[in-house]
């Protein structure tokens, strides 16, 4: 599972459009993850300000495993 640092987030939705699994939505000023998230970490990488990170101990799989080439 991922967490969003709400103090850093600029609500730009870069993560929403980048997520390969349609697991993120932007609703008003909230970034919401659904259960389709596989912890591929693409959102961590695209976030221009680095506001997204894994919640320690909750990662379903190793990053990169299912990121499209």
């Amino acid at each position: 599972m991922r967490q969003v640092d709400r103090d850093t987030c600029l609500h730009c939705a870069a993560c929403v459009g980048t997520c390969p699994f349609d697991a993120i939505t932007l609703f008003d000023m909230h970034i919401i993850f659904n259960d389709r998230c596989v912890d591929c970490a693409m959102c961590d990488r695209v976030c221009p300000v680095g506001a997204i990170s894994p919640i320690p101990g909750t990662e379903k799989m190793k990053p990169k495993l299912r990121v499209p080439a």
């Binding site: 730009c12 990488r45 680095g50």
Partner: protein, 399 residues
């Protein structure tokens, strides 16, 4: 459940949506455009540099309220910061505007309303209404009310994070190399040359992308960056590189930001399919962003206009099938696809070039007079001085 009936529902009130709504409404179609945000045009997610030539093509007149600055041309800075200047006089018609995107988007929405379109803000599309396997409108939430907007044609203008296309079965995944993460500060109190839009390339400035300085007026500029996800293994790469570049440039380091702008753009080939039964995708939702520049506004407006025209033809024929909507595919591809593919190839090649090669390219172009700046002319000039650099482009040169 409240129900509304229209001919066309446009999802998203950016430039593509407004141009589509304007084109459809002005042809007599009962049109509504919905926007999830409470205000059209904000927050801005854009470098705000646009070319000028295409505005006339779709009948838009420049307006004082949305033009911040008119530039004479562009300067391209190599990694060693030697640069070339592409002037309007040299480059034919490559002048540009630096715009106020929030005002520009509102201007286009006004045009849509003047043409007869309805517009609802704070209205979020939640899904497609399906009947017999065919979309016949959208489920939406306006303020705190769920409602149905029924329309045989749906124009998806919902941008980079498009969901309408997904709902219509157009599944797309972007490769990391086709995504740029972007960040920009609107800096006040900087030393900038208001005559030029500046572009800085190279691994040190912006890996797999470029850094831009678009002057909004004396002492004020959008300083932003796009970095490729392929070259961003860490986090906050965009911010790290942008901050580092600004720190190295005292004329910009003294500026203060009055607006932080973030976002992502696709720098991919356009979607193979931009239509489904009753659905047309326009602009960023169709991945029509220019892969070389990351600019999306012009192609959004042009494709939106075409979608509006095709909507009318579709109603005249009373045929909303994906087969009929091939007319949309044919028209926008005829207009835009060749350039998009060419610039995609150019982007792919540029992304592979070392800083040393980029330095040589800019060096080879010093003092070269271009009648019109084309990829081919640039390649020929580089080949004359550094033939080894253009090896990768040889197939393009032969063509």
């Amino acid at each position: 459940m409240e129900r509304y009936n229209y001919d066309v529902v446009v999802v998203g009130a950016g430039p593509g949506g407004s141009c589509a709504a304007r084109a459809a409404a002005s042809r007599g179609l009962k049109t509504i455009m919905i926007e999830k945000r409470q205000e059209i045009g904000t927050p801005v997610r854009c470098g705000e540099g646009i070319a000028t030539a295409w505005l006339n093509q779709i009948g838009l007149k420049p307006g004082k309220d949305w033009i911040a600055n008119e530039v004479d041309g562009a300067r391209i800075f190599a990694p060693n910061e030697q640069y070339i200047t592409l002037d309007a006089a040299q480059a034919g018609n490559e002048t540009g505007f630096v715009v106020e995107r929030d005002m520009f988007d509102k201007f286009l929405a006004r045009e849509a309303i003047r043409a007869g379109s309805d517009v609802w803000v704070k209205t979020n599309a939640l899904g497609l209404i399906m009947e017999n396997g065919v979309p016949v409108g959208v489920h939406a939430r306006k303020l705190n009310k769920d409602l149905e907007i029924r329309a045989p044609l749906i124009i998806a203008a919902d941008g980079f994070e498009s969901r309408v296309g997904l709902w219509a079965g157009i599944k797309t995944q972007l490769k990391p190399g086709d995504i740029e993460a972007c960040l920009q500060y609107r800096l006040v109190g900087v030393d900038c040359d208001v005559r030029y839009n500046d572009f800085y390339v190279g691994e040190k400035a912006a890996p797999g992308g470029y850094l831009w300085v678009f002057p909004k007026g004396p002492g004020e500029a959008n300083v932003g960056i796009g970095v490729s996800l392929k070259k961003s293994p860490g986090i906050a790469t965009a911010k790290t590189y942008l901050d580092a570049w600004i720190k190295r440039h005292p004329g910009y380091a003294k500026g203060k930001s009055i607006e932080d702008v973030a976002g992502a753009v696709s720098v991919s080939p356009p979607l193979k399919r931009t239509t489904a039964n009753g659905v047309m995708l326009v602009g960023d939702a169709a991945r029509l962003v220019d892969p070389l520049t990351g600019g999306g506004v012009a192609n959004a407006c042009i494709s939106g206009q075409i979608a509006g025209e095709v909507a009318k033809a579709s109603f005249d024929a009373h045929d909303f099938s994906v087969q009929f909507l091939q007319l949309y595919e044919k028209k926008w591809r005829g207009e835009l696809e060749e350039q998009l593919m060419r610039n995609y190839m150019a982007k792919e090649t540029m992304m592979k070039m070392s800083d040393e090669s980029l330095n040589k390219v800019i060096d080879a172009l010093q003092g070269v007079e271009f009648k019109k700046v084309t990829t081919l002319e640039i390649l020929k000039a580089v080949q004359a001085k550094y033939p080894e650099v253009v090896k990768e482009f040889e197939s393009m040169l032969a063509a």
